[in-house]
């Protein structure tokens, strides 16, 4: 690297992918800048992972207060101050994005404010200024996909960003178009806050990508909680009238059309990579037809000193994937032998109970030619789950038959995302079901259900009969 560059590394985008890359590069002694046109923290901190989890927690506390009657705790009139709720959520976002700003300062990452676009493969214009860098990391993320016929106005028809602002009063009738993770998280929030919620999904199953058994259990529980789920259904158009938003729904199997009326409609039909205004072609960087900028396992684009991380690089569009890729890109630039070699990328729906998984689903394992065995342990047999008033769900393990190698773990249950820690490490360590079954798990914990699922693989679970 010659002295003629302004920076060793210039990162475009300060979402989880970008800020992880910038901080790690700085930790490794490089001179780093990070350009961001909106707020540091990206989608995840500002309008994604974090504010959704805040609303989910609030909604769950409302449900918990209701369930407290089971053990004799009752409350008088309950009241929810919506302005305070939105303010509390925004406060958390502010604290976290402020934290990222402080980390930039402390790590001596130069924060460039403005829209970044390539001038050439070593030069980027940010606002009015032009900067050169030896290496450049593209971390421009993604944005909500649009749905023709349902124009987002962020008040009655919203995307995930608009849905994060809870209206006062809470809408009585809510439609979530799209039965993916985001659709279900918002459905859960609005349902707990008193809305009557319907989710529609084009495909035959909700939460595509998750294990079929787990999804079935999950959907059953969500239905029991009052969320109406309609699969193989699409929304054709919406019309705002005095009594609400009239939405034409179509059963994609029968072609049957009906009109239903809602007070708020969420469009959550996926996300698409974001490269607008980036002028990637000026750097000679390949952008696919669908808008992705592909990267290799060292996060390199087709131009060797230009790296790509996060949502703009590939699916699945998840923050932890972006973070990992950000670290890898920074380390590769610093000359370290890093590689994005994750065995599996975990997925979580942060409802209550949660749906969380890591590794292969039963169907994927079979598709890949594995001979498998499975083990399932229902939370209804867990003492800890009973004391938490949360016995809906199970832990399912997918294991290679002959070798006992763990292939995937699928959990529907309280704190499922916390239990993923063990499952994820097990997969990365190439652990067997026996390794988990032989490991002492504290009693009484939800983690014992992971142990019991491993025992169930060997037909030796203690607290259920093994068929």
């Amino acid at each position: 690297m010659t002295k003629s560059f302004d920076f060793d590394v210039l990162v475009i985008g300060a979402g989880p992918g970008g800020y992880h890359a910038a901080i790690r590069a700085a930790q490794l002694g490089l001179k780093v800048a990070c350009a961001e046109r909106e707020a540091v923290g990206g989608v995840c901190l500002n309008v994604g992972c974090i504010p959704t989890k805040a609303l989910l927690h609030a909604g769950e506390q409302i449900a918990a207060a209701r369930h407290a009657a089971d053990f004799g705790l009752t409350f008088g009139q309950q009241s929810l101050d919506i302005a305070k709720l939105n303010g509390w959520k925004d406060g958390i976002v502010k604290k976290l994005t402020g934290g990222v700003g402080a980390l930039f300062k402390a790590n001596k990452v130069t924060h460039l404010i403005g829209q970044a676009s390539f001038v050439d493969d070593h030069t980027v214009k940010v606002g009015d200024q032009t900067y050169s860098a030896a290496s450049i990391i593209i971390a421009t993320g993604s944005e909500p996909a649009k749905l023709p016929g349902l124009e987002v106005d962020q008040s009655s028809i919203v995307d995930s960003t608009g849905a994060l602002v809870m209206p006062d009063p809470v809408p009585a009738r809510m439609l979530c178009v799209g039965g993916g993770v985001i659709g279900f998280e918002f459905a859960h929030v609005y349902n707990n806050m008193g809305a009557k919620v319907k989710i529609i999904e084009f495909l035959p199953n909700v939460i595509p990508g998750a294990d079929a058994d787990a999804v079935k259990e999950f959907a059953k529980i969500m239905t029991k909680q009052g969320i109406e789920i309609a699969v193989q259904t699409k929304a054709n158009r919406a019309e705002k009238k005095a009594d609400g938003i009239h939405v034409e729904l179509e059963n994609v199997k029968t072609g049957e059309k009906t009109v239903e009326v809602f007070d708020r409609v969420l469009v959550a039909v996926g996300r698409r990579p974001r490269t607008d205004g980036l002028n990637a072609q000026a750097a000679g960087v390949t952008v696919t037809e669908r808008g992705f900028i592909p990267a290799d396992t060292r996060q390199r684009s087709n131009v060797p000193h230009i790296y790509v991380v996060g949502d703009v690089a590939s699916n699945p569009m998840l923050a932890h994937k972006a973070m990992k890729e950000g670290l890898v890109a920074a380390e590769v630039i610093a000359g370290k032998p890093a590689e994005q070699d994750a065995v599996a990328i975990p997925g979580v729906v942060y409802t209550s109970p949660e749906l969380a998984w890591v590794g292969l689903t039963e169907a994927e394992a079979k598709e890949k030619g594995y001979e498998i065995k499975t083990g399932v342990f229902p939370l209804s047999a867990s003492g800890r789950a009973m004391t938490l008033q949360a016995t809906d769900g199970f832990v399912k393990m997918v294991v290679e038959k002959d070798t006992d190698l763990l292939l995937g773990v699928h959990i529907v249950g309280p704190h499922a995302s916390d239990l993923l820690g063990e499952a994820g490490l097990a997969l990365e360590m190439a652990a067997t079901a026996s390794d988990i079954a032989l490991t002492m798990h504290a009693h009484p914990t939800l983690g014992e259900s992971v142990l019991e699922a491993a025992e169930a693989v060997h037909k030796q679970a203690i607290h259920i009969m093994n068929r």
């Binding site: 380390e331 070798t403 360590m429 390794d435």
Partner: protein, 99 residues
């Protein structure tokens, strides 16, 4: 694939990976043998003394595969519960109850 690897033992990674010197016998100064649970179980099954096994993981961590190859090579190609080495002094042999 029937062993236990680790990200640390694979090609590359992030983080400050402290690489162990060449894998050696797994017994450590404090007597702990670094072996994954399934490898410990298999060693007992095969009557293999874990301190004799060369672990192929970081810090000489013994994986299932290491015990299997020791069982095959280290003991002259003989494996199976019949070929028990002398049991650890403190542990009497389990009685086998024919059903």
């Amino acid at each position: 694939r029937s062993g236990s690897g680790a990200p640390g033992s694979s090609t590359a990674g992030t983080g400050t990976l402290t690489r162990a010197p060449a894998p050696g016998p797994a017994a450590r100064a404090d007597g702990r043998v670094l072996a994954v649970p399934a490898a410990r179980q298999l060693a007992r099954e095969l009557g293999v003394e874990l301190t004799q096994v060369q672990g192929s993981g970081p810090n000489g961590r013994i994986r299932v595969q290491d015990v299997m190859s020791y069982g095959q090579q280290g003991q002259g190609g003989q494996t199976g519960p019949a070929q028990q080495t002398a049991p650890a002094a403190a542990i009497p042999q389990p009685p086998v109850i024919p059903q």
